[in-house]
Amino acid sequence: MRIALPDGSKLEIAEDGASIEVILKNLGINPEEVIVAKNGKIVSEEETAGDSDELKIVRFVHGG
């Protein structure tokens, strides 16, 4: 599974169907601070992802 992290770096991990929530926790990322796109589309934390998927983790902002 390829993962694009909020800082722009890329990671490749072996994953056999874990939930986004678990993947974030394993990466030490607070799920409350990010939204996650799986194969280009934003998905909920309950969604699962596997080896062939591409995740993009986006730290969304709130200022104005």
Binding site: E33, K41, I42, S44, V58, F60, V61, G63, G64
Partner: protein, 251 residues
């Protein structure tokens, strides 16, 4: 109808959308939620573009630390309500439009009154609590909401059209933890300009809007990116599914 002065004022943009498009802008009333970093850019460009009525609301007074980015306000305005300098700046840019600048805290109690008569909602807030309020009001009033947010070199924007796109709560089901955010004027410039561009396109009916598309700005690397999103069938704000049905479906 545009008079002679208006025709000259808008001559460079009527090359894009004609006098018909300009008249559409003139007939449009907008609500700008906030006169801070984003609100300054948004209202500035909307006034310049000739949106017929701008209602801008902010409860704060100008502080020195605002002046790195809040271009509606000047050094002489420190200590005064932002609404006041907002009014002066916007009417100074364009005396042809109507500007209503209010010292108000947007809340559940007054949002209905504040939005009355507005065709568009421009999100220039600095917290998700009020953004969710704007989202609910947009859905209730069937009024498009142009979302924007910034932090440091980073920003995001998307366009919410009730009945046509997902809503803000579909996209951001929960607010991020509160934090003091770094703020650079030029980031407000990028994102605020995008929000205004979206509004102009929506009103004049051209181009592709950021519908179900979240635009991401990375100013450190000068790069745009985007991710798609869709309606959440169980969204507590825009879904027709009741809470009990939602719980039952989830088993």
């Amino acid at each position: 109808m545009l008079d002679d002065a208006e025709s000259r004022r808008y001559s460079r943009q009527t090359l894009l959308f004609g006098k018909e498009g300009q008249e559409m802008l003139k007939r449009t009333s907008v609500f700008v939620a906030g006169a801070g970093g984003l609100g300054s850019v948004i209202s500035f460009y909307m006034a310049a573009a000739g949106f017929g009525k701008i209602r801008i609301v902010d409860c704060d007074s100008v502080e020195l630390s605002n002046l790195n980015r809040q271009i509606l306000h000047s050094n002489a305005d420190v200590g005064r309500p932002k609404a006041r300098s907002a009014y002066e700046t916007l009417t100074g840019i364009n005396p042809e439009i109507e500007v209503e600048a209010m010292v108000e805290t947007i809340s559940e109690d007054n949002i209905g009154d504040l939005l009355r008569g507005s065709h568009l909602i421009m999100d220039a807030m600095d917290n998700f609590s009020i953004r969710y309020l704007l989202n609910r009001a947009a859905l209730k009033g069937n009024v498009p909401l142009f979302h924007g947010a910034i932090s440091g070199y980073q920003g995001q924007a998307t366009t919410i059209i009730p009945g046509r796109t997902a809503c803000l709560s579909c996209l951001f089901p929960r607010a991020p933890p509160p934090s003091t955010f770094p703020a650079l004027g030029s980031t407000c410039g990028v994102i605020g300009s995008i929000q205004v561009t979206e509004a102009v396109k929506y009103v004049t009916g051209v181009g592709e809007l950021l519908e179900n598309r979240l635009l991401l700005w990375d100013g450190l690397n000068i790069a745009f990116d985007e991710v798609a999103y869709e309606r959440n069938a169980f969204c507590k704000e825009c879904s027709d599914v009741s809470r009990s049905d939602r719980d039952a479906m989830r088993g």
